[in-house]
């Protein structure tokens, strides 16, 4: 199991701050970064290039680009072309940083014609899967969308069933599961061998707030009991709102340290109980 924190790297100062945060967390072995790329922002590649050697020293995973990206767009459309360009960029850096996998969303936009969107998303998956293969990367399909935003393409059962039909592995976003009222324990049980990673964050059951792990209605104790039971090797990525914006405060860093400590304690207990 590797613990990651999800970050955007918006500018040099911000990136330096983040890297010093990791320095602050030294003592916790194998903490890495999940990079949330922002290729739609001009000059973003330059930031990655500049910090590439430093980043290469860390465990790295990559999220696929989110902004200006949607895999349920028809092939041949402008949206599809832009999506693929952003993905190529992300895959290129992910491969250079030996990320191993890419977190993948079947869709981002609001649902219009669900069957048609799913048909297109699965058709597009063939091409994006080929592209990922060519970079030596595996796609981890995430449970995406929030009911309140009307962009949930697959409900709980559809999402679980998808993996009976595909050979792919998945990433479970605990916040999305919580605000879509999924039975997270059941999903973890049914998909256990396919779950490679979690986006761990909390909310109050309606909006995708990306809160700290204890700020919300997701029962963290129950999550770790199920984690221990079904997926004791899966990675955990803290995907917090404050880490996805450049206005991170010293206080934030302090509580991230607290949360990292908590997750460490829980996962160490899992590892100890397995020995």
């Amino acid at each position: 199991m590797t613990l990651y924190i999800s970050v955007v790297l918006l500018d040099e100062t911000w990136t330096r701050n983040l890297l010093s945060l990791l320095e602050n967390l030294r003592g916790y072995e194998r903490i890495g970064l999940e990079i949330f790329p922002m290729f739609h922002i001009g000059g973003y590649s330059r930031i990655l290039d500049k910090f590439l050697p430093k980043l290469a020293e860390l465990p790295i995973t990559f999220h696929e680009p989110y902004y200006e990206t949607d895999h349920s767009c028809k092939r041949g459309s402008v949206e599809y072309r832009v999506t693929m360009e952003h993905c190529k960029n992300a895959f290129d850096y992910a491969a250079r940083l030996r990320a191993g996998h890419i977190v993948y969303h079947l869709n981002n936009r609001a649902i219009s014609n669900k069957d048609e969107m799913l048909r297109i998303a699965l058709e597009n998956l063939i091409e994006i899967n080929d592209l990922a293969d060519s970079y030596g990367l595996k796609l981890l399909i995430e449970n995406t969308g929030v009911s309140a935003m009307n962009n949930v393409l697959l409900d709980e059962n559809d999402f679980v069933d998808l993996f009976d039909m595909l050979d792919h592995d998945c990433l479970i976003d605990t916040g999305h599961a919580n605000c879509n009222k999924w039975n997270l324990g059941s999903v973890m049980e049914r998909l256990q061998g396919r779950i490679r990673s979690y986006h761990l964050h909390n909310n109050f059951g309606a909006n995708d707030d990306h809160n700290r792990i204890f700020e919300g209605t997701l029962d963290l104790g129950e999550f770790f009991r199920n984690y221990s039971r079904y997926t004791p090797d899966a990675d955990i990525v803290l995907e917090y709102k404050c880490l996805l914006t450049p206005d991170i405060m010293n206080d934030d860093i302090e509580w991230i340290k607290e949360d990292v400590s908590h997750v460490r304690r829980m996962t160490c207990a899992v590892e100890t109980s397995r020995k």
């Binding site: 699965l122 009976d164 039909m165 595909l166 050979d167 256990q192 061998g193 396919r194 090797d233």
Partner: protein, 375 residues
Amino acid sequence: MKSIEMKNICKNYGKVAVVKELNLTVKSGEKLILLGPSGCGKSTILRMIAGLEEITSGELHLGGRKVNHLGSGERNVSMVFQNYALFPHMTVEDNITYGLRINKVCGDEIRRRKNDVMKMLELSGLEKRKPRELSGGQRQRVALARAVAKQSCFLLLDEPLSNLDVQLREHARKELVRIHEKFGQTMVYVTHDQTEAMTVGDRIALFSEGMVQTLDTPLNVYNRPANVFTAKFIGSPSCNIIETKGEGGGVAIGNQVFSLNGSWANLLRGKHDLYFGIRPEHIELSEEPRANSIKGSVRYCENYGHKTSVFIANDGIEFAASVEETRFYPGETVYMTFPQDKIHFFDKKTGCNAGYPENISRSCENDPLYKRRIA
């Protein structure tokens, strides 16, 4: 080489052991049935082979290669699920070919495989239909077609026929055997249905509480049950198992004594606490006493058309007998004869089969059907 080897495999959920120290080899090209009651761990084993569940400890080898660390997609397995797992928005042909396209099989080869499996599974003409426009049997065939088209070395089936009605199930069983004869994949098939187990499998692994109770050919499992659990699980009505004690040259059946021939008496000498077993269809019933018969009273009968189950009370013990005739009625006195070459004994303490006299050999190791099946 397409064997599956499980070495000391354990699966725990917390402190609960679901599969315990499993050592099992599925031979290349064999059809192995994992049979057992709900919750015995058989589906968990299948899902561990598929990579859908992690193995707590032990080693899994597919085709001689250790695969514990490999993801499901890297194991060269195809799987058929109880719920068929078809994409609802895709047509039949898209469901069959999608996996091939994502695995970069070339277009001509995809077309060839699709046409082959659709013809073989009698799906021709249904290419453009969506799953909701198909019957249960057709959906099951599409799921099977998709698995077969993948041409994996290992075909895993998790209760694939349980959603079908009786007639369709019988037809589908034959299709499965036919498909296996054509492609020769190593097949692991989970079921709780003993008829499927007996008719489809080359061998049956019968499970209870995460442990193998028996691993043998269907005929051996039936005719020479390794223990009481196996004897009772296979067969309907289930095998009569009666607690008994050795009494000189015989055994006590209630207040009566059933005499054993010399071979049995020699074999059981010194063994006192036993279970006596006989399958319902091996009990011979008569209205008049015969030599060495046991008296009883008919309690009730169940008529199945082709046979009748007669339930007989004897000194507080109930026997089930299966007969073709329907000439026995509740309240009547009947006499049960137990042919010496059809009876079984089990150790009362361990539940294990006490063995058979040498002159009663019902082993199927030389069964030509079994030899032909895995040749």
